[in-house]
Symmetry: C2
């Protein structure tokens, strides 16, 4: 126990990072150990992520023996493989052996074959079997997320029997918050919080202390559902069952919190058309590769807009001011579309947008698009009239085009993610690019088309 509680200064402070760098540069391993020793594994992992690749290799060489499993499990995937490969086999074996099964699985998932084999080889037979069993569940499933170390008790036990059992048990998980009640076939049928066990008399039956609401999840269910259930029902742990309904593991809230965080990151990155695996520690080439595909899609869609504009070259040749004004229509649409889109993607992720209210939400977006459209049409119509040749009809044309484009933007912003969701695709999947393309094309077409009809 520390006498002085660590102050909650987020992240390892800059001075520590700088001092670590100096120690590494000086090759001063004693100083390095002094600096890193008091830090939480998560902070050590952050330092490893923040320094340059060369410094990282030097640090690991100087400090290699001391690295423990928690650091491997905290470190970002983008550099984990590099770190694991730099460790001596016996150091790696020691590091991995102290981890719970879910953490080992989490590390293994993202590694290439040879690194995986090195880690599996370092485990003793029983742990290896547990890890391999977890890996047999589909990726991103509850089975991959659970830890196999579970504390369970028969329904008929009393508080006293439970306490005696826990006292006699040599090995208990690091983190457990419930005793799960099971029937003779190991089917989970309820759970009791440790707080209730501690505050009850020894002769009280566990079944009388069980929580009112109780949920389990099948090992094959999706990770995203796990995160949802934890947030929706404020759970601390969730028992996992196999096909026969038997208890095979438990998921704790810290794992659910990581999933929630990852899901969110995925949504943001996907909406922006960035590879969802992207990370700040990725190198230049990885980053180029992640971003290239959606930029390529955007190049194609931008050329479609150019074709639309090209259709009206004769109109632009006559009234060149149209060329200056047309991006305004497109840009207002793009902005309004992004607003609707963001709200819809978020609402689908939190499951607030459902079949019950989809029609109402689409309708609301339409009305909002129309109202904002009319508002900005009036303003922009006046601006165009005042500054682009005092032509009332030019003002009318840009106003009408803005109304059309803002309605299309509002509708596509909510319909595109709804359709992606219905097709069982991620609603966030680069929907930004789709919405922008649509509002560009519609914006240019409506504005230049109306201009051709009205102004020529």
């Amino acid at each position: 126990m520390t006498d002085d509680p660590e102050s909650p200064r987020p992240a390892p402070p800059q001075e520590v990072v700088d001092a670590v760098r100096e120690a590494v540069e000086a090759g001063d391993s004693a100083r390095l150990v002094d600096l890193l020793e008091p830090l939480h594994a998560a902070d050590v992992a952050d330092i490893l992520e923040q320094i340059r690749a060369g410094e990282r290799a030097a640090l690991l060489r100087l400090w290699g023996r001391e690295i423990d499993g928690d650091i491997l499990s905290e470190i970002d995937e983008s550099i984990r493989e590099e770190v694991i490969e730099s460790l001596a086999p016996d150091v790696l074996a020691d590091a991995v052996r102290e981890l719970d099964s879910d953490d080992v699985v989490d590390i293994l998932e993202d590694l290439e074959e040879p690194a995986q084999a090195r880690i599996l080889g370092a485990l003793d037979r029983e742990d290896r079997a547990a890890v391999e069993q977890s890996l047999s569940y589909p990726e991103y499933s509850a089975g991959r997320l659970m830890q196999r170390e579970v504390v369970s008790a028969p329904l008929h036990w009393t508080v006293g029997e439970t306490i005696d059992f826990l006292r006699s048990e040599e090995w208990l998980p690091d983190q457990f918050y419930h005793v799960i009640l099971v029937d003779p076939r190991m089917k989970p049928i309820g759970y009791v919080t440790l707080g209730r066990i501690l505050s009850a008399r020894r002769d009280v039956r566990l079944s009388d202390l069980a929580e009112e609401s109780f949920r389990v999840i099948a090992a094959t269910e999706a990770e995203a559902d796990v995160a949802y259930i934890f947030t929706q029902y404020h759970l601390i742990s969730l028992p996992v069952t196999d096909q026969a309904g038997r208890l095979v593991g438990v998921i704790t809230i810290d794992d659910a919190m990581s999933v929630l965080d990852e899901e969110h990151e995925e949504d943001m990155l996907r909406m922006a058309g960035v590879g969802e695996e992207s990370s700040l520690s990725d190198g230049v080439w990885d980053t180029v590769r992640q971003r290239f595909p959606w930029l390529a899609v955007n190049l194609v869609t931008a050329n479609i807009s150019a074709l639309v504009i090209g259709m009206f070259e004769n109109t632009i040749a006559v009234i060149v001011a149209l060329a200056a004004l047309m991006p305004i229509v497109a840009s207002m649409g793009g902005n309004a579309g992004t607003q609707s889109l963001t709200v819809a993607v978020r609402a689908l992720a939190t499951r607030d947008l459902t079949a019950s209210n989809a029609k109402r939400v689409v309708w609301r977006e339409l009305v909002v698009g129309l109202l904002n459209g009319v508002g900005f049409a009036v303003v922009m119509g006046l601006v165009a009239w005042a500054f682009y040749g005092r032509d009332v009809w030019l003002g009318a044309v840009i106003g009408a085009a803005i109304v059309v484009n803002l309605v299309v933007a509002a509708l596509s912003g909510v319909l595109i993610p709804l359709v992606l969701h219905r097709l069982k695709l991620d609603p966030a999947l680069a929907s930004g690019t789709f919405v922008m393309t649509l509002t560009d094309v519609v914006g240019f077409f409506a504005f230049l088309g109306l201009a051709t009809m009205v102004l020529l």
Copy 2:
């Protein structure tokens, strides 16, 4: 305890929502109670959010007596006031009295004065004092988030003394996962997990069971820091101290998880320029009001782009194809800028982007922008040459403009959020609009400017 664990089907299924609606329409309160009774408060809240305002009022009239505090605490802020106002005073009083202090504070924060007074009036004196004390901490601070119900013990107690104390204590919080060790001045100095207490012999001292790492947070610290500490260090509960360092409350992980979720939402909505308070249950006018401001900003910035284009009207009048091609340059920049921006905003939120690596990340973005720029410049240069008059120089101009704009996009995508962060503003704050403006202006200027110099 339920005999059959509820299956983890996310959200109340469509059939239940439909059945509830039918019961409300038929005015069948017995059926309504039957339908809602077995549901978790979070699911009842979801149903209330998903039905129309009229149906909601009818439902609450039919079912009013049965509503409990948990439902009020689960319900979305956008309709909470409406629900609270529809309840009879005694129903509201009963509902609020069963809640923990942090939940009451959470409800009160978002209410207008008269509704606040109604709820405070419903509490008994002691609870009211606790709630008012929490409200005296700044908004979005740890003090607002904590529950005041804490289980603590003197450092010198044994396991046996602790268990005897817990058994004799009439009142314990619903959720507690640690016993917090305090010195005689109530300063927290460590904690012991309940699992360790349960598995130790009665004569073991609590101080021998305390967790290795221990953190506290001051009541005045920001909510965002709370969420960060929970994720970074995988905490389950975090003791809160007052200015004198005395234990005044505890924050549990479910509250931290909600904060994390809200922070995510805020980031997404802010980046898109949507009011961060926006919700799917908002009415049309609220939604128009939330979205109008950033659309107005966008109108101004779009007019700046128009001015830039206007500077080159003579060039466009000579080569009309430029009008068709110029949005391609702008759009590629906008897209690339959004990619960098999203990665940077996310990295600032997770505190992966720090002073230690900012220079390196900016540099990486620059190189990535340059490489992607050159790649797409070659492709688009060839396309422009092939389809727009076989003019080598036109291809060269659009290529060069794309390189310039992608470099600017990449840099501004990371620099704008970094500057906002340095200014202690939220990096997500409509940075999308800023980046888009910049890439539009630079794109049009570079392309049309080069064209004027080279092609005329």
